[in-house]
Symmetry: D3
Subunit: 339 residues, 6 copies
């Protein structure tokens, strides 16, 4: 890849020319010297479908390595996308934090890196930072929109939902909302992000480009429904952006949700975790949503956690054990602002 304008070389290379027409399947080649692979490298999958002029979209899965709807839906897309129907360019990274996806862990096993707090990255940094830097400088600069498929991972679960941010620029917000409506998930959460530094979301939004994320189920698993939401949503965003010349598949109408400031419930005990509501259940403020028991003192009354506001349970800690400081539930509230 020739990028004559770039001041700093990445150690990552690829045999793919991002700007060439046609279908290319290849890798990012990431040098990685280990004791048992002195001259080793990581080969991280990258596919590009380009057909003439038109918008460019980046599709990513595996931003966290234990979230599977993204990698599966994107591998299926790699196998089914017909270049003749494409107008513009589709760049697919089915495993954005490749070492984490290989390990099945949220964070990279190589450097502990959380890819979604690593942007804009560092060309001389850890593997996670090197990938973020490459994406930031060589890919994001080429795209008009990004769809980044997340789920709850092994520990948490979400009501299936698209996620966008409440953007200050009205035009930016409107373009993003239109894409989110096209995505067509059952729910769409419009977030005020508290800790946005380092996110892929932030990197894209700061360039004024469209960014759609999702939270589709969880438990480190996948179900026909959650994979279908990812596949349909991606397809219909491609159609919406004019990149794919097909009819949209999605039928449904999206319910828009917001989260009030107090919506996050935090555990202050470590112990056995009983969740006493169902995801998607509408509960009133004060309703007990969870209890934490101390196995070593089975006669002690459990700690009880209550809904901090009226609303819908949109997120829960999934595991039967919980650590002090973990988020155990999040409440959402319907909003008409974006419908």
């Amino acid at each position: 890849m020739t990028n004559t304008a770039l001041e700093k070389r990445s150690k990552i290379s690829t045999q793919i020319d991002l700007d060439k027409d046609g279908v290319q399947h290849g890798h990012l080649i990431i040098p990685h010297s280990r004791n048992d692979s002195p001259w080793g490298s990581l080969l991280m999958p990258l596919s590009v479908f380009k057909n003439g002029e038109g918008p460019t979209v980046l599709l990513t899965g595996g931003n966290h390595g234990d979230e599977y709807e993204g990698p599966i839906a994107l591998i299926k897309l790699i196998q089914s996308l017909e270049i003749d129907k494409v107008k513009g360019r589709v760049i697919i990274l089915p495993a954005l934090n490749y070492p984490a996806v290989k390990a099945g862990t949220r964070l990279s096993p190589l450097d502990g890196g959380n890819m979604n707090r690593s942007f804009p990255g560092d060309a001389d940094g850890t593997i996670t930072q090197m990938i973020a830097d490459f994406v930031q400088r060589f890919i994001l600069t080429r795209v008009d929109a990004v769809v980044d498929i997340h789920a709850g991972g092994k520990i948490m679960s979400f009501l299936p939902t698209a996620v966008i941010h409440n953007l200050p620029d009205p035009d930016h917000m409107e373009r993003t909302l239109a894409a989110a409506r096209a995505f067509g998930a059952p729910n769409c959460l419009v977030l005020e992000e508290l800790d946005a530094a380092g996110m892929l979301d932030t990197a894209v939004e700061e360039m004024g480009k469209i960014f759609i994320s999702t939270e589709l189920g969880g438990g480190g698993s996948n179900r026909p429904e959650t994979v279908r939401i990812a596949e349909t949503g991606i397809h219909d965003v491609l159609v919406h952006l004019g990149i794919l010349d097909e009819a949209p598949k999605g039928p449904g109408k999206t319910r828009f949700l917001g989260t009030p400031a107090e919506a996050f419930v935090i555990a202050d005990k470590t112990g056995l975790f009983e969740f006493t509501a169902e995801l998607g259940e509408r509960v009133e403020k004060g309703h007990i949503v969870a209890r934490i028991y101390d196995l070593d003192n089975p006669t002690a009354a459990p700690a009880e956690y209550r809904a901090p506001c009226d609303g819908i349970v949109i997120h829960r800690h999934l595991m039967g054990q919980i650590n002090r400081g973990d988020c155990l539930a999040v409440m959402g509230q319907e909003t008409d602002n974006f419908s």
Copy 2:
């Protein structure tokens, strides 16, 4: 505890007298010398409710350490059971493989022991074997029935079901079936166990006593529905056995299921795992239930796995990654034999 008739001493002791009337909460004291606890011991919870003459039941959770309906339902029972309504004896071990429950792992972190393949145990063996031996010699000898609450653990998920074995002795089978009907789970699987050696089930059944197990959901989690099935089922078995003087809580009728010999589908690839059916879904033989993708070769066709017979999907591998040799699905078939 005085057990003058026992030929071999266990290193495990307890301050509880299993044969005394009243409510006792205490521990099995299991000596465990470690580098950082030279004279350390494990204190594994044990509760006994005894009120006069009557049958004895043993209730166990945490046979595998990442299955939570048992520990939670039994701690709730420890906090709510009224001794005045008991006639006979209820022995509760909410964390049968205590080190595994503390670690949140299927197997004991201390010795890798699978408690459910460790019976009849060994008084001079590992911690897991010492616990099995104590239960075998000092508790099972005292009981008339055992209810052992399992779920799918972190990796697998089950349609909520009670589980019993197809026992050769008709009277034994009838007593077991009556208890299973009283338990009242939505489903009851009647198994021909292939690998029964070492199971708690086997230890109890070989004594001609009633044994009810369950598989309630999975994912290392718990939901209101699965905890309720455990709580109601335990309650109604206590009522059924005449130990608890209350009305049964359970409404429902149980659907009985069997598993044909070919019902277990095994993965022969390692890779990204897509499950294409829903738990409880009725599928025909040949229906694709799962696919395995190779992330490193995203253009390669996935391995496809098909239902080996008509039936209901009663078990699935849950994680989005699977290992060669893993069981990826089990089919069940309705039977009228036991209704």
Copy 3:
């Protein structure tokens, strides 16, 4: 907490208002995403006692996680300090390197961080660096004096002593000496620090504020005497500073010690370690203070280590094994300069 003047936000937050009157017990909330706690946080204890105008003191324990006099004395102070007797403000961090204290290790298990070489910290750095940054920017800026309780940790042991630095500014030195005399430990070491970069000491002293440290015993343990020295010393410094309206508890007179440049004895062998003097013993130059044996060559003569100067043995390596490069003893010499 509102800090409008601060240019850079910390990711650490707290429900405590450092500037509000009254007693507040709460936490620093430190975000910490892990594979098993994706949205997890660490809740590090913080207590503030404020009553009107007056000086502010910061009291810290657990700067190193295997030194226990600080955490214990400060928890006891949290439970006993009466706000009515306070004039000014007492800020208490009983576990400055909270992850290390939880693990019982000198360094943080999360990032290997030595808290006492991490100042002024980094808001975007590791957990250890984030804590240092928060203390540096939000707490040290508010205080007049810091008392930081150390001991020898699991590996080393000290003659119980307060520690201050020989400061270039006479007024600064005099204020510090006065506080050290008030602390009233049996000994007070006046150090020329060789490797001061990154220390909490340095961070405080560079602001011209009072800093008192201690080395109280060791072995990762605590004794009534060492806890009493910490409790009494802290109490009497509060009285001395005019923050606590009580009579001083400490009776004793402090012996001032210095360490000559050659006072540190380093092992150049790895092996079994015999210490041949007692802590506090007065020895002459050339006296054998330790021997190192090679277990694999039991007939080989041991390496012998001798006192490099006349003086008192104020520090020893405690463990029966020693590594090449370890400090095995430090000598102190009485001085009249500060009495």
Copy 4:
């Protein structure tokens, strides 16, 4: 070594002939195949001093690998014992659990083995069991008395004391008491062992031979006083047995102590550990000897632990953290029975 009468071969060999006159320094050669040492072996030090007819004594250190008075005193003896003054035989194993001593851990890092619960051993078992078997069959059969030097290890500390068991056979008891008096430690504990199975003590006592153990200090350290007690005690037992033709070195009179059944205090909390008595202090029943604090709830009252009887504090948990189930203190009571 030729042992024609032995039915089973040990995999352990040695270049030393245990029955030959003279001084021999060598090793037990223990085969140990590892991934990085396929044909590797462990060379565990063994020294034998034999001079004509007379009794045989076995001297052992490092039964637990983090107790150092034994290895140090015995290496010093290996370097200083003059064969001309010996009459009979002295066999020295300064590191009985050699892998544990090398690692500085109580238990063997190779197999987790507690040497003092591994007798009579197993020639086909783990490394720990192989060593125990060799000692049991090839060494204990040759000896008249054993002195086994223990201390408190890294986690615990003891008032320096010799330890013997209250033996049922009066002659056996009298021979043992005479040797203990000759050893001349400041204290001698006469124990009723609760968990004697597998101990070296038991293996020797069952042969009707003299067995003297010790508990000298602790903390994984050593001090001049504790090494001196070990050296003097060993020397004077050798004199007492008629093996060494020198004058006894020990001056002192031994105080005999017993432990009542209730003397062991067990922690039922995990947390920060404050010990509120001194080793050797005489306290009354009900005196608070320790408190356990919860760092995460610094305002919660600590758990308090009280002396279960009048007596002397002879053992304490040393570390500033303690685990539920740990022994935190042991009381001893003076007795005139053996003086």
Copy 5:
């Protein structure tokens, strides 16, 4: 597989019928419950070529998991062997210690098991013992000869050689020698095994059957020459036994070697290892074959190790570091006894 006569069931099963004519490729299915594969199993490759009556040979590689000539030569044979040319039966286990071969380690990563010290195995034991038991009872009972391909592994290196034992029964020895001559390696070592218990060799030889082993190079590697020796040798043994109807490929004459009792040189230092001879070099007694340096004392004279007898260097420690107790070289001597 139906084995009605066998008293004890193995937990290992296979879809292959060892006694059926034709070519079958399949697995031993070894149940292996792990935390991340609760119902998991290991699928260990097994191929059987059977064509009518005739002798049966078992070919094994991967007895140690870091020795590669066996697995590679046997996979090549699996892909090339023509059933029409077979008369009798060829059973191939290319990875006898399958978990070790997958991990690339000498010993099994699952249980530390050395397969070649695990025979006759244990049906209820560890994975390594279960495999040994299955081979012992279900395969060795069917065979006439075994060829087991070893090499030096990652740590050691050998002059390429076949290995047989000096068998007491002359007819057994003659059949074995004939097969070894047919194998046609450049060298053939005739060993008196010192530590034969548990070896596959012993298991086969005790049944009076032919057993040929090899040591082909080392370093955890393979070269064209060493793979060719394995392939040619296996081929020609099949021809020699009348199982394969082809011409022998091997040209060469084998040099027979013995090892005198003193031929094994053991390191008594740990350090940097310089080997000063070449494999296959003829040296005289006293010639320096290796030196060990202490990096931490570079001016100290190295330990020197000399040839214990005249002869040929047939084995060396390969790595540049060596551990005390390792075998650093073995000498062989030519013999005319078997030519």
Copy 6:
């Protein structure tokens, strides 16, 4: 060491004065606080031979910790170099990445640091970076030439060769070529480095000084031939530079080689690795040099890897297992440009 001109202090110190005449053996003292060595330090060997005026050469081994010709040849030189024959200065660091050499690993076990990608280092960084910084600022500034002895490490193997870079400055190139010819290895590779950032090579070459590296064999081993090449080459470079007043030892003529851009063959499969050429063999483009087999599918055709150009095999992956992304072979081509 006094370095008044240096703006930033290193935490590393040494008792050696680099500028003093005579022979000095000592250490770099690198502070390294660990949980078990709170005030610990690493003592990294350093020797200096200085005799009057003349050039300075730095000799380094152990840049990667599993390459042994350097440490061994340099320790031998330390023991044999006669100061009287020296004119100028020889600085020897036999273990440049000291922690890696102690561990026998390519990278530092303390921080994962690859020393040869860590220059110019960081005085406040990790141990590896601190060493690089010290060498960069305090040693490289004093030298005229550097000889850095590498080999293939545990995983790879090279045809024994010296290595230099094709330098843009003709005079610099000629001085370097002259030194390489003096070194006299059988081969000399003239490289265009692709990834030169951070190398010791680059640090030296950017100062316009002579830099000679080597790749001598591999496998984490050493042979008489490879040690001899290192010893002779170093000796003769010292003579060539006028530092050593002896006759050159080397007889031989060096063959110069280049590597075309396509010469590096990368594995795209993980599996069993068969290498089908010999190091040093001359092969034609398209010749199969390696195959990768899938043990779990032994009947599947192996992946085949072919020579990308005519030439000599100068490097191979050595281990019998290979990872996707590893370099499996490198081809070299003879060149007359430098002879």
